[in-house]
Amino acid sequence: AQVQRGSSASMVLILCIGDLHIPHRCPDLPPQFKELLKPGKIQSILCTGNLCSRTVIEYLRSITTDVTMVQGDFDEFTSPERSIVNIGDYKIGLIHGHQVSPFGDPAALARLHRQLGVDILVTGHTHEHKILKTEDGLQITLGSATGAYSTLSSKEAVPSFVLLDIDGAKATVYIYQLKDGKVKVDRIDHMKQAPAPAA
């Protein structure tokens, strides 16, 4: 079901995170990230799945109780396949990404974007973060929060997550990456476009 979060006037900070793969591929989240993700700052969590054990759900819920999760291909529990969340003026679609072929293909994701009819599409699976401004809105592909091994890329994965700061029609995307033990933050500003004229 669709859920409305945050009135359009107030600012809402949303953690977008996924592909932790604990304990399958990584023992834990990097301590630097754990330090950042203390309870109290984040209102909502959108999780693209592959946590993979239940104990990680408990961890996410300790940050904030408002957690929306979708099914990853390695999750040891069941979640919805996809989810749509309304925050501020935004409709955000959430799906893990192993359902589209080729994995992580921008065109395939754009198709999904149109199907869901959302302003922001958040996916994961590739373990390489990529943020595109497309005709459909923002296409956010999350990296792995733990920098977990992935068969899809032979590059050493960089641990990353995204914070979405939504203020009405304004969205700011903060990309947190862990490089050489240091947290690096990039930022992308986005304004919601006027709705497309009806066909």
Partner: protein
């Protein structure tokens, strides 16, 4: 009088009250006579006052009250005596005079009072008077009376001892005389104190013993004064003091006295003395009564010496030279075997102290820690802990010390550790094992050798499997996995799985051995545990494959390195299949096989092995995945993985693609069929491989097969339409109303399928696929537009589909309106 019971509490209060009154009266008269300077009267009244101390009817506690009252008066009497000399009376005369008192107890008190003044005046040799007094006091053998009399003697003589450097040395005697005096008084006092236990009735023995304990310091004062003698050197201490004190301590055979005095000796005499007399002390400890808490005595001795050593490096060397650790270790063993009834917790506390001792004194000798563990195991294993909660707690304390004191890798060298751990009840054992795992994880420790890995698994054994530890009997209260619910199993095994990532050898072949070692242990844990641990084990294997593939040898086994990508992948295949066998492991097993397939293809370029992985994954899909939703997502994973594989020659490729196509069209729901068939079509248009390895094929690019696939997808949409028409003829309208489509699920309308396939065509138009130009796309667009426009069998199109259709048209418009280019040109030709 010994053995007689005291009266009731009320009766004693009355006797005490009467005695106090009598003392106050006598004291009043005494006061008066002193003011009048009447010595004779003063002596008479003081004898009367002191006579009240002759009672045997008061418990030591009440007697003490009486004594304190008298003591205050004695202080005044002493100063009165002190003034007598000025009046021409010598102390020898006074000393003589007080002996005329009729009763022995008042007489002795007065003699003591005068005696110290006598010594002070130097009219007589200190040693003679002291010897006289200490001997005469033997005349009072009643425990309470005698003890307090001698306490007074001890207190009064303190300042007039012929100690080295004191004013009373020389003609007055030597430090030996001072020692003789204090030691004799000590021995006599202790005897009286010990005999005090026989006073009163058996009924209130406990209360009496408590009272007796409160008098300990009266006896201990003698030892304190001995320790304060300036003339007391080590020789004198070791030759005279300690042997006589210890002889008394051992021979008195009394729990309270032994406990107190042993502690007192350790506390009051300097640590440097203890270093030299360690054997005497330890030897005496083994001879203590069973009721004595020897463990606290040994522990405090070790603690003191450790602190002493910490302040002085020379002492540390000395302790090492004298093999103090070994002596303590052996003494503890002797004590335990001499006291078979000693509680296990007490025995363990001694080992805790020994562990602390070696940790502080010899922090670098890790072998000592192992020896403590071995000794503790040797002492405890025969009797076991038998569920004794206090012993359990003590053992956890003992076992926690090495983990906190040393790094984990060093800790893993402690071969005796797991054996001792095995004595804990399984619940406690598990808690400790959990703590060890957390320590390993939190410290970022890497396990680099097979020995260490094997050891680690021994340390955390109860988390891994239910087999008993070799060398131990089955531990008490063993819980098997059958007693745990799924949540508990998951909690424990997630921890074990996390631990697997700490296995990290420098050499690839050793790394492989580490994984095989881990696997052998995990398998013992049974299917319910394996479900949680095998995925992690599998991915450790995949990381090793990548490491080998990136190595100069390119994943082939080289001389000396017995491991190759192929051997690891073969092993991984087994892990994946084993995972698929465990309850609820099918989905994860299938995914692990797919990951293996991708690695076999892209990283190892092993076509047949990659095929084998796919074959097994497909078999699992066919036979093991029953749930429709899981079938859909599993098939997407299979197709998506295959799309990224470039190792296959045409025959193998076609076989796999055809199988996928078959499964796609056999999915239950039309929507799922349609989407899966579209994904299969995409298999014939591959991206380039990310590596340029020689074993890889160029990407598959077959436009006609893609279009054939899309045509099949259109047929599925048409079939959905017919199905909807059939349903509409029935009672329930198909796809009617907007309430059917939940926002998060795709629309159930067949029109949705048409729009979806149109989007596929548009994607290929963007790609510039041969045979999928504007004309072909226009044809499909018109077809779909007609379906959208026509009132369908289920009524008007639902809102979700309408929105999707609108978004699709908008996409075409935006692409056509984009800056000029190939893609824009193709889209510009589409008419809406």
């Amino acid at each position: 009088m010994e053995g007689s019971a005291f009266g009731s509490e009320a009766e004693q209060e009355r006797i005490l009250g009467d005695a106090k009154l009598a003392i106050k009266r006598a004291a009043y008269s005494l006061h008066k006579s002193m003011e009048e300077d009447n010595l004779r009267e003063a002596l008479r009244f003081s004898a009367a006052m002191l006579g009240e101390l002759r009672t045997s009817q008061l418990s030591p506690h009440k007697y003490y009250e009486l004594y304190m009252l008298v003591f205050d008066m004695l202080v005044q009497l002493e100063s009165f005596f002190g003034d007598e000399r000025g009046k021409g009376r010598s102390y020898s005369e006074l000393y003589e005079l007080v002996q005329h008192a009729g009763n022995v107890l008042p007489r002795l008190y007065l003699m003591v009072a005068v005696g110290s003044l006598y010594i002070k005046s130097k009219e007589a040799a200190a040693k003679d008077i002291l010897k006289d007094l200490v001997e005469l006091c033997k005349g009072v053998q009643h425990p309470t009376r005698g003890l307090f009399l001698r306490a007074y003697l001890c207190q009064r003589s303190r300042t007039v001892l012929p100690d080295t450097g004191s004013a009373y040395e020389g003609p007055g005697g030597t430090v030996t005389d001072a020692l003789d005096f204090l030691l004799s008084n000590f021995v006599e006092m202790n005897k009286l104190w010990v005999r005090m236990q026989h006073q009163g009735s058996v009924r209130d023995k406990e209360k009496r013993e408590k009272e007796r304990q409160q008098l300990a310091d009266l006896v201990g004062k003698n030892l304190t004064y001995i320790s304060q003698l300036d003339g007391l050197g080590y020789e004198l201490y070791a030759g005279q003091v300690l042997p006589r004190v210890m002889e008394q301590v051992v021979s008195c055979r009394d729990d309270i006295a032994q406990q107190y005095l042993f502690q007192a000796v350790i506390q009051v005499f300097p640590d440097s003395f203890h270093l030299g007399t360690l054997d005497t002390l330890l030897g005496a400890l083994a001879e203590m009564q069973p009721g004595v808490k020897v463990h606290t005595v040994v522990a405090s001795l070790m603690d003191r010496l450790a602190r002493y050593a910490a302040a002085d490096p020379a002492v540390m060397v000395q302790l090492l030279d004298m093999r103090a650790f070994e002596r303590f270790r052996d003494a503890i063993a002797r004590i335990i075997s001499a006291q078979p009834t000693m509680p296990a917790a007490d025995a363990i506390e001694m080992y805790v102290a020994l562990m602390n001792f070696t940790g502080n004194v010899h922090p670098n000798i890790v072998e000592n820690v192992n020896q403590v563990l071995a000794a503790a195991h040797g002492a405890l294993a025969p009797r076991g802990l038998a569920g004794d909660a206090r012993a359990e707690r003590a053992l956890v304390v003992l076992l926690t010390l090495p983990i906190t004191k040393y790094d984990v890798v060093t800790g893993l060298g402690l071969t005796e550790y797991p054996l001792l751990m095995g004595l804990l009840r399984q619940r406690t054992h598990k808690e400790l094992a959990t703590r060890i795992v957390h320590t390993v994880l939190d410290t970022g420790t890497k396990i680099t050798s097979v020995d260490k890995a094997a050891m680690l698994f021994r340390f955390i054994q109860p988390l891994v499997h239910d087999e008993p530890i070799a060398g131990n009997e089955v531990s008490a209260g063993a819980i098997s996995i059958d007693d745990l619910d799924d949540e508990d199993v998951a909690g424990e095994q997630v921890l074990v799985a996390r631990l697997l990532h700490t296995l990290a050898a420098d050499q690839a072949d050793v790394q492989f051995q580490l994984l095989v070692t881990a696997q052998a242990q995990l398998v013992l844990g049974g299917p319910r545990r394996l479900r949680h641990t095998l995925p992690a084990l599998g991915f450790c294997g995949l990381r090793l494959v990548r490491r080998l593939a990136m190595a100069p040898a390119g994943g082939k086994a080289t001389e000396g390195e017995g491991v190759s990508c192929e051997s690891v992948l073969q092993w991984l295949l087994g892990v994946g299949l084993a995972l698929a066998e465990v309850p609820e492991g099918t989905g994860l097993g299938l995914r692990l096989l797919l990951a293996g397939a991708h690695a076999a293809s892209e990283e190892a370029q092993l076509e047949l092995l990659a095929y084998e992985f796919f074959e097994q994954a497909l078999l699992l899909y066919e036979e093991g995945v029953a749930d429709q939703r899981h079938r859909v997502t599993a098939l997407h994973s299979i197709i998506g993985t295959l799309h990224g594989c470039h190792v296959f020659g045409p025959d193998n490729w076609d076989a796999l693609v055809q199988n996928c196509g078959g499964y796609a069209s056999r999915l239950l729901k039309r929507l799922d069929q349609c989407q899966a068939v579209c994904s299969c079509a995409r298999l014939s248009w591959q991206e380039a491989a990310s590596s340029t390895a020689p074993g890889l094929q160029p990407p598959v690019r077959d436009a006609s097969k893609v279009l054939k696939g899309l045509g099949r997808a259109l047929k599925i949409a048409a079939a959905a339409k017919q199905q909807a028409a059939a349903a509409a003829r029935g009672v329930v309208p198909y796809g009617a109303g907007t309430t059917v489509a939940a926002a998060t699920a795709p629309s159930t309308s067949y029109v949705w399928l048409y729009v979806e396939v149109l989007n596929q065509y548009l994607a290929y138009l963007t790609l510039g696929l041969e045979g999928c130009g504007p004309a072909v796309v226009q044809h499909v667009l018109d077809l779909v537009a007609a379906e959208v426009a026509a009132p369908g069998p289920g009524g008007p199109m639902d809102a979700e589909t309408a929105r999707f259709w609108g978004a699709t048209l908008q996409h075409i418009r935006l692409q056509a309106a984009a800056p000029a280019g190939d893609v824009q040109a193709r889209f510009a030709l589409i008419k809406l």
